[in-house]
Symmetry: D2
Subunit: 242 residues, 4 copies
Amino acid sequence: MMKLIITKDYQEMSELAVQLLMSYMMKEYPTNLAITAGTTPERLYEILVPYVKDHGQFANINYFNFDEVPYKGTDSYGVTMSNLNRMFFHPANIPAKQIHVLDEKNYKEHDEYIEKMGGLDLIMLGLGKDGHFCGNLPGTTKFGDLTSAVPISVRPDMYDIILDEVGYQVDKVPDFYVTMGPKSVMRAKNILMIVSGTHKAEILKQVIEGPVDEHVPSSLLMLHPFITVIADKDAASLLTAK
Amino acid sequence: MMKLIITKDYQEMSELAVQLLMSYMMKEYPTNLAITAGTTPERLYEILVPYVKDHGQFANINYFNFDEVPYKGTDSYGVTMSNLNRMFFHPANIPAKQIHVLDEKNYKEHDEYIEKMGGLDLIMLGLGKDGHFCGNLPGTTKFGDLTSAVPISVRPDMYDIILDEVGYQVDKVPDFYVTMGPKSVMRAKNILMIVSGTHKAEILKQVIEGPVDEHVPSSLLMLHPFITVIADKDAASLLTAK
Amino acid sequence: MMKLIITKDYQEMSELAVQLLMSYMMKEYPTNLAITAGTTPERLYEILVPYVKDHGQFANINYFNFDEVPYKGTDSYGVTMSNLNRMFFHPANIPAKQIHVLDEKNYKEHDEYIEKMGGLDLIMLGLGKDGHFCGNLPGTTKFGDLTSAVPISVRPDMYDIILDEVGYQVDKVPDFYVTMGPKSVMRAKNILMIVSGTHKAEILKQVIEGPVDEHVPSSLLMLHPFITVIADKDAASLLTAK
Amino acid sequence: MMKLIITKDYQEMSELAVQLLMSYMMKEYPTNLAITAGTTPERLYEILVPYVKDHGQFANINYFNFDEVPYKGTDSYGVTMSNLNRMFFHPANIPAKQIHVLDEKNYKEHDEYIEKMGGLDLIMLGLGKDGHFCGNLPGTTKFGDLTSAVPISVRPDMYDIILDEVGYQVDKVPDFYVTMGPKSVMRAKNILMIVSGTHKAEILKQVIEGPVDEHVPSSLLMLHPFITVIADKDAASLLTAK
């Protein structure tokens, strides 16, 4: 069942998330972690890096990204991998062979690839203000979707969202982005959701206390048997039962 | 992720379900199993009884029913517990202290009770022709519902359904029945769904290959990270990928 | 902790072992099983074969043997693999890619190989009249040994034991056999020990109720946190606490 | 299998141990932790306390001590519980109902008590310079021992050891102390061993690289399938393979 942990602030939220991640790092057998980019985990990665950097004893970990916005017309990493590289993979010197990239070319094989690897042991993700997780924005995917491509035409406002993602480079806006779907994410053996800030308070209340509804994609995740939500006091401020 | 196992017939479906159940019986620590009444598991319980009967070494198991239709105006067991008693608890001589009854009096505390017991290790359930599981018929509960009471007035045809359940004793039709909700069932650490017969083929196809939709309640369960579906060839006959 | 299950006879012992094995077969992700040859599992494999034969849905299973007596001067399978082929792999049509052979050529890499595969999920083994498991006869290996080669010269009577193993073909007696050691076996996540017959009653009593002692190698396994012993009534007849 | 993690110093060893402990704190269901007193975990508890103090969300945790040296002629807590109270239970305001005390009066029921509670999820322990863990000093217990009383007369030098434990109060030296035995500790689902300092380097080498031998009690623990050893660089300085 969902385990909710409320921390006093963003720093403590980041510390507890690191503790949970580190418990996976210390496992004796190959372990598969899908991790999030975005702004919520920034402090978390700062704390995590020194523990993991050049640490051969954590070589069992396979890292995965769970969505990607490709830069159109380039062969370089997309938005998500660029951010993960900047925040975590590069400063922590994670060897390339431990990083399993999801991108616009291989997304159709992604679910089967993960299955053959033994499944994700943990997926760590954030919560969007609109209730999205990974690239599952309201109106873009269905609860039953696996990893798939979402065309920019899916919603009238998606062009602006993606334009923002690619740093307002008009010629780099792709025709679609890729994301693990709700069904893919629910397959993970454990889920960690991190939430911070008063601007997330309303959506967190809806996700935890409202109905399970495709218009609030993250509401589904609350039904995962092994999900931990770590929210700081600000994000949790509107919850009825704390 | 969902693991689908197709057996050659009803007998083999029953045998594989017994094998899975027995693996829980053999665990060294207290183990919590919620089990189903109905017609699908009849053969299964016949096979199971001799293994479990008077078997002190399986005393670690706590049994739970997951729904109940009370007989109005009586203090006796309801429809579900009566059937479980007849098919399994009585022939297997399961001591009363191992049986944890959900009924119309205690249903409000049921989810918390299970939580304090450490959660359900396994829930075994069938699939209704309308896509229901436990007492979650289309239009009666929402994906986000915990254990709750469903009034007979919830659907125009519910009176007839319940009248059939209580053996056409008009004066025994209750005002409501109780059931673990979708959210309660998804909290189980493992789910086993058993399905048999050509009359289940169409709904099984919809549950496995169709959208996740509250009108087909069991479609949600396919998103549980640890669900096994054992279906005989007849029930699986319409599936695209086998 | 050790879970002891006493069955009424050899047939029931075999059935319960099959139930436990089948629960691993039904897992959704790659699963690693090391299984035993010898006479105790003969009935067990007879029961198991029809469930597994040509069953593509159990293709996730990786099988391992845990010891081998090579036939000297030949390139063919040794005694253990020959017996496993005869009793299980051949009648069940297990594809070669699912069988991971330990032999006199690769034994030095065996422990690391298993580690990279994610560890053994289950090792099923029997109990020798002298307290041995796998090829760990008293006086041949130490509790701290990993997979290793045991020279025939290790004990004066070993030549006769191995001569018997190779079917009294004097020219086929090898200079050494190979076996997973106590340390290798204890690394398995779960252990299943099967024991049958009055001729095993005395050693089973010693293993379960006597001291943990290298002269009774199997006594160590009783300290594994997840070991199940399935013994028939005859084998369990001398136990104090049943 | 044993997972060895070497940290740069005592501070990092303490931090990693806290991370592992905290991952258990965050579990959704009742969780059983046996924890160590002694000097090695002092820094660890300092780091842990602010995370746990008055934290109602970690109310699922049951704490256990694993040995006790009673003060003769008093009814107060013994040496171990006094130290755990001072270092952790009191500063963290752990409610009494979460603390399950092992002492000289209840030790005979301790193993069965833990079994009924569902087993220990984790036991965290240190390594003595003589290779002991808990109260299992060389020559005092056997590998097959459960929780038991060790008479002071067991070894000629035990009186001095215990006199030191009770703060050189001659009249407080008890006739015996109690300890979970090797067999009890091996039943834990996970073991965490913490080791710090150059004065532990020689024994750690022996424990990890030497034979499994009752004269070095901790050598047995290396055979637990789920043991993590966190050692600082000083303690690990003599290890061959790092």
